[in-house]
Symmetry: D2
Subunit: 337 residues, 4 copies
Amino acid sequence: MSLRLGVIGAGAIGKEHIRRCTQVLQGATVVAVSDINLDNARAAVNALGLKAEVYADGQDVIKAQDVDALIVTSWDPTHEAFTLGAIEAGKPVFCEKPLAMTAEGCRRIVDAEMKAGRRLVQVGFMRPYDEGYQALKGVIDSGEIGAPLMLHCAHRNPEVGDNYTTDMAITSTLIHELDVLRWLLNDDYASVQVRFPRATSNTHARLKDPQIVMLETRKGTLIDVEIFVNCRYGYDIQCEVVGETGIARLPEPSSVQMRKAAKLATTILTDWKDRFIKAYDVELQAFINDVKAGELRGPSAWDGFAASVAADACLKAQESGALETISLPERPAFYLR
Amino acid sequence: MSLRLGVIGAGAIGKEHIRRCTQVLQGATVVAVSDINLDNARAAVNALGLKAEVYADGQDVIKAQDVDALIVTSWDPTHEAFTLGAIEAGKPVFCEKPLAMTAEGCRRIVDAEMKAGRRLVQVGFMRPYDEGYQALKGVIDSGEIGAPLMLHCAHRNPEVGDNYTTDMAITSTLIHELDVLRWLLNDDYASVQVRFPRATSNTHARLKDPQIVMLETRKGTLIDVEIFVNCRYGYDIQCEVVGETGIARLPEPSSVQMRKAAKLATTILTDWKDRFIKAYDVELQAFINDVKAGELRGPSAWDGFAASVAADACLKAQESGALETISLPERPAFYLR
Amino acid sequence: MSLRLGVIGAGAIGKEHIRRCTQVLQGATVVAVSDINLDNARAAVNALGLKAEVYADGQDVIKAQDVDALIVTSWDPTHEAFTLGAIEAGKPVFCEKPLAMTAEGCRRIVDAEMKAGRRLVQVGFMRPYDEGYQALKGVIDSGEIGAPLMLHCAHRNPEVGDNYTTDMAITSTLIHELDVLRWLLNDDYASVQVRFPRATSNTHARLKDPQIVMLETRKGTLIDVEIFVNCRYGYDIQCEVVGETGIARLPEPSSVQMRKAAKLATTILTDWKDRFIKAYDVELQAFINDVKAGELRGPSAWDGFAASVAADACLKAQESGALETISLPERPAFYLR
Amino acid sequence: MSLRLGVIGAGAIGKEHIRRCTQVLQGATVVAVSDINLDNARAAVNALGLKAEVYADGQDVIKAQDVDALIVTSWDPTHEAFTLGAIEAGKPVFCEKPLAMTAEGCRRIVDAEMKAGRRLVQVGFMRPYDEGYQALKGVIDSGEIGAPLMLHCAHRNPEVGDNYTTDMAITSTLIHELDVLRWLLNDDYASVQVRFPRATSNTHARLKDPQIVMLETRKGTLIDVEIFVNCRYGYDIQCEVVGETGIARLPEPSSVQMRKAAKLATTILTDWKDRFIKAYDVELQAFINDVKAGELRGPSAWDGFAASVAADACLKAQESGALETISLPERPAFYLR
């Protein structure tokens, strides 16, 4: 039985997920699509020759009788309302990040979901579905390197647009580490400090680039994340876990090894879309499978809330220069993994 | 519209392909399964809760009205007859290697398919669907390293069973290189020579191990393939293409990099099934998609024939110790890529 | 003409330098050796069959007519006096680190040398003579990676003795980075902060291990150095320089690459003595050559002073947990490179 | 006591060895230099400010009372006579390769040396003194990879001059592998076959490039050596030893690892002189030390003879295309290591 999906928001990511569900993934059919610009919704449907209803209002998608589950890929500020709507309708919802614009908004979703009595929300954090991170977690969990003491991470982009500002290093970039590292370590953040090295000459006045974010977890693991979004050379995600007895490092993306022109080289990706392209497929397939199996197991509303709380503290640390506490409430039993 | 598949042969590979079509791939449904042991067919169907008819005779699967296309995973000696049956029925067929037990058998399939007037056969050579080989071919085809002059390849298994004999190094092991290297170079083999180095002490009387097979292509590219099936350390596939201006090497499988116990190490696979596991998915998805699109583009009956002709010459070279000619007829226009 | 050397202190390092000068290096002869235990001096001389005078008092070595230059490898607290003695005698002196027990002591040597009017002191910092660091500096100085913005470094030992305490992570371990990174960047330190991650279970009460030291240079380059002296897996020195347009990384020591037991591995050294063994030869050969050429060019008394000032601030930062200023006076023109 | 060296031949290599003995190595002094062009000898001496006698005739250097040992770096065809002269004079001689122009010439030197009753000759094969090859031999000899079954080697130059012809791939290029691989395996060659792949377009009529030389040893180890002297990308020496239980590979030269312009790269050398530059120092230092210790242990006249015999067979195999036997007489007890 194919899972009938309603997609709210037919922009770039929405269209991408519709294509994914239709041409790549197994076990689901897009039966409804909405966009505040109805033509967008129609175009998305027609482009793939889908037999799907189009709506101007996402709430109508939620309510549609033939829709079993939702994918929310609309304008960020609308995520919270649509996700709450799906919860109210008792329908599972895959919501692209951010779950809400504020930690409070995320908390409202958490509360609504707990009130509903079962997990209905998966947040669109894809990295836990990346094969490399999974292999890395496998090594950590095996105990091969002992307890993780430090993480050295980097998130580098070749360049960003002029409207990318200092705070976005947290909200658009670090947000992925904030999610995946909690999952990797099975731990929560306790504090954060941000340091600004000498700035690259390839940035502008409103963007301090690079930055180093130092997070400490409750267990005391110290994480440094270099964020460098004008690094020029490539899109490069690094994660090295220093344990008591060994070090494990996130695999580099596979590449042909070349000997040419006095260099022994492999290729570094330059487009972020290529780096986790398979993880997008896997996360959405997992959502489909988990909905059908009756139990969501991916990044939860609580994970979205935790990332949001941590991001708020990071932003504060960017401003203060001081060590800022990250005060995440105790995880409710409801969300215990 | 889901492609309705009939699977002939419900042994290990058959069951694996049924699972694949049902749980992993998109756009196909297994509607019929046969096995000479009817219980096997039933078990395969029930294990996945499929609504599929079971048959004792594969020819009945071919004839079944609701079957659009076939997957042949039966006992090797029956491949030829089932594939010919599918051609006769005008139904596309994915046949596991070997296509037939002899080059003559492969030729009969080629002739039947040409007579049918359109491509109906895909042989189960999965390596051209491997991401690494595709990247390597991309580099060659780009001209980055100039014309390929030499290939240094290795096909190593940690160990083989006692019933694995010298000739199987060609028919079970090298057969994959014989297929993928023709595709990689877009060339055909002209001659072959086999050399036997000092044998490992980890072999037995009926298996000379390792072997080095030296193939020359029509364009003069010289290929050495080391076959070493008791290498102990892992399942390791190497392919290095030496071109006029540079060298390109097949990517190593992705792995966490570890620093531990005085070693900086990545993991080498030990189970061959893990090495091309994704390629199996991709080849069968491609078959499904190509059938639906009306044009098969994967490894053809001609490719199966060519591999078989080359393998026969390799076997002769194992015996003679001399340089043996590989006489493949000119490729019919029908099979021009 | 062979340079006639007097060696003050015939302990482990002293004997090693005597052997080096006698059997490995070119252009020098050890003609005098002292040790507070005269038997040690005699044993060192006899072991190599040297025709060298032995003395109980290092000051007598300094004064000996036939001694052209000194090597000070005595007990740390005596370094300052012997070095000052050599300066007073107008004889070039290679002094093992530390130059003096305090920054003030180093300053006295600087002042004495400036008063002498020419460079007479080389401090035994060997890393600038390491081939890998020289290659790394070559890349930085070439401008290939643009201005250095961040350095990610690690200094890891497999284990340390029970008498190794938290402060020694600075004075015995980090001291090498404090020297080599100034040289590498051609910059001076402005501030330092120390963070203590979760401690490894393989340490003891008086040693917080690992530590992360964050140094900021005057130009704003932000350096993080992980010090982890019970890392178990090996002796491992890492240095990654993140520049505006690229990243350069200190070469790993050369090693045979092995495929064995399901691992693709190179060897990590476990004994620190092997890591910079060639650099010790090169630094001392450079001293000999430079003395003969009439101009010392290696690590200077000022470099020793600068490292000492920085180390003091690091120790303070270990205690305070705060950002500590590193106040090095302006470099006198005398020491301008 | 400094070893007093006489250098016969003051061309490029001669001058290089004079500089080496004078400025780099320990324990020797060049006291005599000859060249058929006396001005060359004078210039070499004056350039370094040596107090050395100059001679027009190398035989006079051999006879000079104050000369303890010889270095022969004259025109290739004169090597044999000067080496024989040194043997006759009972003086140790380091002779650059080739030891003689023919195997017979080498044999004459072997016979003369045996008649002299002690080893007096070291041939200038430097690779056994390379750190990488020594590490590789260490792994083989340790038994870690079991008995060596196959070697995959490559000797690649970026380009060669127009006067480099097919046979020089053996006499100028492969000659180094012919020496070092015997030493590495502690084995002798039994046969050789040469295959010519498709030629690179970057060669000329008198040079078939690349070539693959397949050597078989007496123990049955099968060695393939790719010789590619117009490979364009760099000077690259590869050696992979496939043993019964694992594979060991010659280390790549150490290099800074760079992330830049979408590449993760290390540098490949392009100038052959840089590849074994340290090995030249080590081989000559070893000669000096061994002469002083009274026992030569480096590449012997027998090794020179063995390489010459093997090279002759390789040349024959280039012509015949057939498997050619390599008939080295049994090694005299005199040369047993």
